[in-house]
């Protein structure tokens, strides 16, 4: 009995940590841009599949997305050529250099046959900028739209990215190597090294975000835009840059989450949506604005998930999501007392 409970605890904690990175991304994007990003899970998929390609020595299909997106960016910039062709040229040139650099980096990494951690870094460099591109295409043009419009737009983005994923990678699942294989017997339970890796990488990422927001000017600009967009704008903070930055960091965190998760479940084109949803559930427990509460939220989701999967697997989703409502009511009541 104790073994089972311990096992479920470890399993729940591992799941929770993976969702935590996603919840973090959602909170980051929401606070800075007010976008409830349903498409956040797709970066999980992109991260996982890019890593799978790199580890098997293939040029990752993500490059098509990245280069295509950069090209579209240059196209959308067309009106500027007439006003200020020098800057437009510099912009287009910069993007072309970026595209070439991304291809070169990937080729180099494949030639050197980097270890898993190295490939993860390369995959991160390929996936994270896609977040910025999506910000440029779908949020930047209509900064004042309502929440629900952004929700639906992000559903559209999710469809597009998932469809492209299917087009590029097909419907087959891809195995992904863990950072370290094997595991450790701790008392009666076996803990795979990957769980430790997840713990370490998740903690490092969260710590990195914390240090970045507290101790760099850009991080502070991000915080300011999150607290008061208009006020930040009046202080000379380019809020569009802050929005892009939020999307960049969020894409990076989600991609990491996917790369950590993939060895546990294999990667495929539709893995992102459900993971995204669970991250959303966790993040929403903190009202999408509170980082520590979001972490508690995802741990609850992770725990509920492994427990109910063990107890009644057919009713797993029923249990997870029904138990959510009382928790929400409790949070809601508590929050109202606090604000009164």
């Amino acid at each position: 009995m104790t073994d089972t409970i311990l096992f479920l605890l470890v399993d729940g904690l591992t799941n929770g940590l993976v969702y935590a990175l996603l919840a973090l991304s959602l909170v980051l994007v929401f606070t800075v841009t007010r976008v409830v990003n349903i498409a956040q899970g797709e970066y999980v998929m992109l991260g996982a599949l890019t890593l799978a390609d790199l580890l098997q020595g293939r040029m990752p299909g993500t490059l098509y997305l990245l280069v295509g997106g950069l090209a579209l960016c240059v196209l959308l910039d067309a009106p500027r050529w007439r006003r200020d062709w020098r800057r437009a040229l510099a912009f287009a040139g910069g993007l072309i250099v970026a595209a070439v650099a991304a291809v070169a980096l990937t080729r180099g990494a494949l030639a050197l046959q980097l270890p898993v951690i190295g490939m993860m870094a390369v995959a991160l460099v390929l996936v994270a900028p896609i977040g910025v591109l999506i910000y440029r295409f779908t949020v930047h043009p209509i900064p004042n739209a309502t929440t629900i419009v952004f929700v639906i737009i992000s559903v559209g983005v999710s469809m597009i990215v998932q469809g492209l994923g299917l087009l590029i990678w097909g419907a087959n699942p891809y195995p992904v190597d863990p950072i370290a294989s094997g595991g450790l017997m701790m008392g009666p339970v076996f803990i795979p090294y990957q769980s430790f890796a997840i713990l370490i990488v998740a903690l490092l990422s969260m710590g990195g975000l914390y240090l970045f927001s507290e101790f760099t000017l850009m991080g502070k600009a991000l915080q300011a835009s999150a607290m008061n967009r208009l006020g930040a704008q009046f202080c000379g903070i380019p809020v569009n840059m802050a929005g892009g930055l939020a999307f960049l960091l969020a894409a990076a965190f989600s991609a990491i989450s996917g790369m950590l998760l993939a060895p546990l479940i294999t990667a495929n084109y539709e893995m992102g949506f459900m993971v995204g949803l669970k991250g959303f559930v966790g993040a929403a427990m903190g009202g999408l604005v509170d980082y520590p509460l979001s972490l508690v939220g995802v741990m609850i989701v992770g725990g509920l998930e492994s427990t109910s999967a063990y107890l009644a697997s057919a009713y797993r989703d029923v249990l997870v999501f029904s138990l959510l409502i009382p928790i929400l009511l409790w949070r809601n009541a508590k929050q109202r007392v606090e604000t009164r």
């Binding site: 295409f137 209509i142 469809m159 087009l167 929403a284 009511l329």
Partner: protein, 587 residues
């Protein structure tokens, strides 16, 4: 008949003829578009009330499974099982709504997501009853007393009749008493309660009606398809319905229909075209996503508002004839109407108010002044029941202060410092909200347009109040289009329509022009002559000193002086509070 009504009738006629002239393959598509439109219309109503639901498809599923399983197992006429199934779904929705609609912010959509997935997963997991993921076939067609509706064209026409009736009903509801109240739910909860709307109950009603439309759609779906399985009632359909509502434009029920027709036809056209060009099936979802994103970037308000701009405007509802009967107040100047005893309120460590004792007698005109941050607005919130004091008691007409939405029924109305008009409603509709408690036409009467006589009276009263404050000509403009000063005056007109015995005015003159201030003073004097009791918070000292009989001065949460305007003006403590020093220093 107005141009708009004629046009609507013509479009409806076309929609009802279409099932008879389409090739039979497309009849089915048109039928499903109607079914989705019905469920999406429910979502439009929810969105108007400020609720985002990610669980609408689950209610479709309840309606579908309920009707299909009973009709299949017991051979009951399926029209009856459909009605029962919709009724049961309404009860379930009432229970779920009662529990979850108290959630705020992102908790609410999250809860809808939760029960949406939980219910949908139940359809799959409860294998013995529902047939599990593979579903159940041999569902009887829609029938009554042995007559079976098996003609797809006739069935499709029936679906669209229901859709059109729903659109008509909701367009009636939109301009009714309850419709105006629904428009406040998104972001004016406190104001709505101050004018007698029980927002909690109203939210549940909206939610239940939305679920009823979904359940009806679900029932029509299974008896058309004659097969039931969990997949059409999952999260993806909930998202699809939400997409339809938002793309169509969640401002009017017609938006739901436009959204459903656009997206369904786009989807089928894409499938057809891409298959003809030999493209793979993956492209469909990508192109669909691109169309969706581009449409929302181009028309963030939705398609229907973009179309509606070119249509003739709907006919205005009649406001001829007598207004509502008003009460005549007695000149009993000794009656204590409002009695505050030792009121205190703390926010964390901050004592915003402490030891406030105050009495309002019938017909009194009292000014409440004090520097910014003295606690005036907080005291107003306590008196109007929007905030609870941490200590002390409020007595209104000799009884303890009732819950906030009952206060106006006792005879106390208020205006707000930060103007609380519903921007999407016209000026007269905003003013008519003031008469909410004086009328009683409910949700169903609004849907069926049985409220004409009462609504005419309400609008006549609202128009009269607008004329009284000098805004008669602006009655049919959108509230958001007025300058701030006029919006404040609209607030006063709305409070007047509530026929109050006590009127609480929170900085009514801020942002008013000189001529508007004169109007305000004239109205206040008239009200005083009618023995209305007035409590006025205002920074314009000339106006305050010229009007009020008695002044109460607040500073840092305490009353520092009370008395006639002349006494208070000479009070050293008051001068110190306003000028931040002793009288000598200030001089």
């Amino acid at each position: 008949m107005g141009a708009r009504a004629t046009l609507a009738l013509a479009v409806s006629a076309v929609l009802l003829i279409v099932p008879w002239i389409l090739p039979s393959f497309y009849v089915g598509i048109f039928a499903y578009a109607g079914i989705y439109a019905l469920a999406a219309i429910g979502l439009v109503l929810l969105l108007q009330a400020g609720q985002i639901s990610l669980g609408q498809a689950a209610f479709m599923g309840l309606g579908a499974y309920g009707s299909a399983l009973v009709a299949r197992a017991y051979g009951v006429d399926s029209l009856l099982t459909l009605v029962v199934s919709v009724a049961v779904t309404a009860l379930v929705a009432a229970a779920i709504g009662y529990i979850t609609l108290r959630l705020r912010g992102h908790y609410l959509p999250l809860a809808t997501l939760a029960y949406g997935i939980a219910l949908a997963s139940t359809f799959t997991a409860w294998h013995d009853v529902t047939g599990g993921a593979s579903g159940l076939d041999k569902i009887p067609p829609l029938g009554l007393f042995g007559y079976m509706l098996v003609d797809d064209r006739l069935y499709t026409q029936l679906i669209w009749i229901i859709v059109l009736l729903a659109v008509l009903g909701l367009s009636w509801l939109r301009t009714s008493r309850v419709g105006r109240a629904i428009a406040t739910l998104e972001s004016h909860d406190g104001m709505a309660r101050s004018f007698g709307v029980d927002t909690t109950i109203l939210r549940v009603k909206v939610f239940v009606f939305s679920a009823v439309l979904a359940a009806l759609a679900g029932g029509l779906y299974v008896h058309l398809l004659r097969f039931v399985s969990p997949s059409p009632f999952g999260l993806l359909t909930s998202f699809k319905l939400l997409i339809m509502a938002v793309v169509g434009g969640p401002v009017s029920a017609a938006g739901g229909v436009v959204g459903a027709l656009t997206l369904e036809s786009a989807q089928w056209a894409l499938q057809d075209l891409l298959a003809r060009w030999g493209a793979s099936g993956n492209l469909e979802v990508i192109v669909f996503g691109i169309i969706l994103v581009v449409m929302l970037l181009r028309w963030p308000q939705g398609l229907w508002p973009a179309v509606e701009r070119f249509l003739p405007r709907p006919a205005l509802r009649s406001r001829e004839g007598e207004g509502l009967p008003t009460r005549v107040l007695q000149a009993d100047r000794d009656a204590v109407l409002l009695d505050l005893k030792d009121i205190g309120i703390r926010f964390g460590g901050l004592k915003a108010l402490e030891g406030i004792d105050m009495v309002l007698k019938r017909g009194e005109f009292v000014g409440l002044i004090g520097p910014n941050g003295a606690g005036k607005t907080t005291l107003f919130s306590i008196i109007s029941g929007l905030q609870r004091q941490t200590s002390g008691s409020v007595t209104l007409f000799g009884e303890a202060l009732p819950s906030s939405h009952s206060i106006v029924r006792r005879g106390m109305a208020r205006t707000f410092q930060h103007v609380q008009l519903v921007p999407e409603l016209t000026v007269i509709e905003n003013v008519a909200l003031g008469a909410y408690w004086r009328t009683e036409s409910g949700f169903v009467r609004g849907l069926l347009a049985l409220d004409a006589a009462e609504n005419r009276q309400v609008l006549a009263s609202a128009q009269a109040a607008l004329e009284r404050v000098g805004l008669g000509a602006e009655a049919d403009l959108l509230a958001a289009s007025l300058p701030l000063g006029k919006q404040r005056i609209v607030e006063i007109a709305r409070a007047l329509v509530a026929d109050p015995q006590i009127l609480l005015l929170d900085e009514p003159a801020a942002g008013l022009r000189f001529s508007e201030k004169l109007t305000l003073v004239r109205i206040l004097r008239q009200l005083q002559a009618e023995h209305v009791t007035i409590l006025l918070v205002e920074h314009d000292m000339e106006l305050v000193m010229g009007c009020v009989e008695r002044l109460v001065v607040l500073d840092r949460g305490r009353i520092i002086a009370q008395g006639s305007p002349a006494d208070v003006q000479a009070n050293p403590a008051v001068i110190a509070a306003y000028l931040g020093g002793s009288r000598d220093k200030a001089a």
